[in-house]
Amino acid sequence: MSEPALGCTDDHCITCGDVAVEVRVIMADEARELATGHDDSGVATEIDTTLVGPVAPGDRLLVHAGTAIARIGEEHAA
């Protein structure tokens, strides 16, 4: 696995609790609740998908510290 761009950069810091990045799923391992995805810069990384349920290639996820914390594109009620 290459070093992901999802770490501390000028734009975002994984340590600082509230920063997350968009990742597109390219491969899903439903049994282990893991997926491989890449961010806008194309760097691949492994993601824990437990919190968002089953994912499929093409899904867009909001990822923080290696864990998908939300799906992108679902509008929630107020």
């Binding site: 600082c16 609790g17 509230d18 510290a65 929630h76």
Partner: protein, 371 residues
């Protein structure tokens, strides 16, 4: 990038800035705290502050976990990192946070095996590939990050890993907000609420802010248009005499939060009776420890740690900055003795820290036109 493009639109930003200008009452000063360091960073990166009239003041809150970590906890981490059998892992920014006798980066230079990771899962991966070593993860962060640690520990337990543990410094967002609201130093009109913490906890936990303190809060996204729209929503509430929790970031924040995340956190963590916050002191039930079911993964139970409270350097005014009492450039050592290259205070370490955001984007002072 579809998620962000429309939220960086200059025309839309300009329209919102005009709406803000037309909504504020001349002569009234609005003090709005953005709780989260991610917001602080965006505000200065995109110049959101420059689009606001001078009587709308943004106050930077305590929502950067690196900035609020006390020196004593860094010392505890360094003590474990120096154990010969230990591979100590942490996020990048944590490496430069000063303890009383140096940083983790300096401990690494002295020979400790300290490695930067991008996620707790990365740390666990190291443990699996180095079965003869003990891998310790320095867990830090609010409720956004805590589920990631919890899920990793669940995986470690399920796989029977015995050489992986964590020193838990996770904190929760509501107690420090209540402490700030109870502080006599600070008078706030409203809050821009943390966006990604709210993907986990939802917007509901913030209902105490309007209910108990009579102040609006708008949970906000992180792009410039998100923040400007949140300011508009706050000003409208104040103008109309409303006081509510509103959710500007509905595209990812469910009002009730992520129930699976809350469930896994309650399984893996338990509340500490109190936890020290830099600049804010000890706050009751604001920190997390590993629950009894996960005590085997608690690094603080595997190795002795100093556990000593260390006072902040006298020159450092991080406490006042974190409470929004002073602006970063008003600190005596800002930009002189304390810089991102050689930080004295934690607010200068992380890019989300208020001092680093001001320093990196050239905000050494601020003068704006009064409406």
């Amino acid at each position: 990038m579809r998620f962000v493009d429309e939220f960086r639109d200059a025309e839309l930003g300009g329209a919102l800035a005009r709406e803000i200008l037309s909504t504020v009452e001349p002569g009234r000063h609005y003090k709005i705290m953005e709780v989260c360091g991610g917001h602080t960073h965006s505000i200065y990166k995109y110049g959101v502050d420059d689009l606001l009239p001078a009587n709308v003041e943004l106050v930077h809150g305590p929502g950067c976990p690196v900035c609020v970590i006390p020196m004593g906890r860094v010392d505890d981490g360094i003590a474990i990192a120096h154990q010969p059998e230990v591979i100590f892992t942490c996020f990048g920014d944590m490496m430069r946070v000063p303890g009383s006798r140096g940083t983790l980066l300096e401990a690494k230079a002295q020979g400790a095996d300290i490695r930067m990771v991008y996620s707790p899962l990365d740390a666990m991966r190291i443990a699996k590939s180095e079965p003869d070593r003990q891998v310790v993860f320095f867990a830090i962060g609010f409720e956004t990050t805590a589920p990631s640690t919890a899920l990793t520990l669940k995986r470690a337990k399920a796989e029977g890993l015995t050489n992986f543990s964590c020193i838990c410094n996770h904190v929760t967002i509501v107690p420090p907000l209540r402490a700030l609201l109870d502080s006599p130093d600070l008078r706030l009109d409203a809050f821009v609420g943390p966006g990604h913490v709210s993907t986990v906890v939802g917007a509901r936990p913030f209902e105490f802010i309007p209910a108990d303190y009579g102040k609006p809060i708008v949970v906000s996204g992180f792009e410039p248009v998100d923040i400007l729209q949140s300011v508009v929503m706050i000003l409208r509430q104040l103008q109309e005499g409303r006081c509510e929790v509103e959710n500007q970031y509905k595209r990812v924040v469910p009002y009730q939060g992520n129930l699976r995340a809350l469930e896994v956190m309650s399984e893996v963590f338990a509340l500490r009776p109190h936890f020290e916050w830099r600049g804010l002191g000890f706050i009751s039930q604001s920190g997390l420890r590993l629950s009894d079911a996960y005590a085997d993964f608690d690094a603080e139970q595997r190795w002795p740690v100093p556990g000593v409270r260390v006072a902040d350097p006298k020159a450092c005014q991080c406490g006042e900055v974190l409470k929004g009492v002073i602006k970063p450039w008003e600190c005596k050592v800002f930009g002189t003795a304390c810089t991102p290259e050689r930080p004295i205070g934690t607010c200068m370490v992380s890019s989300e820290g208020a001092c680093a955001a001001y320093y990196n984007y050239g905000r050494f002072a601020r003068e704006r036109e009064v409406v």
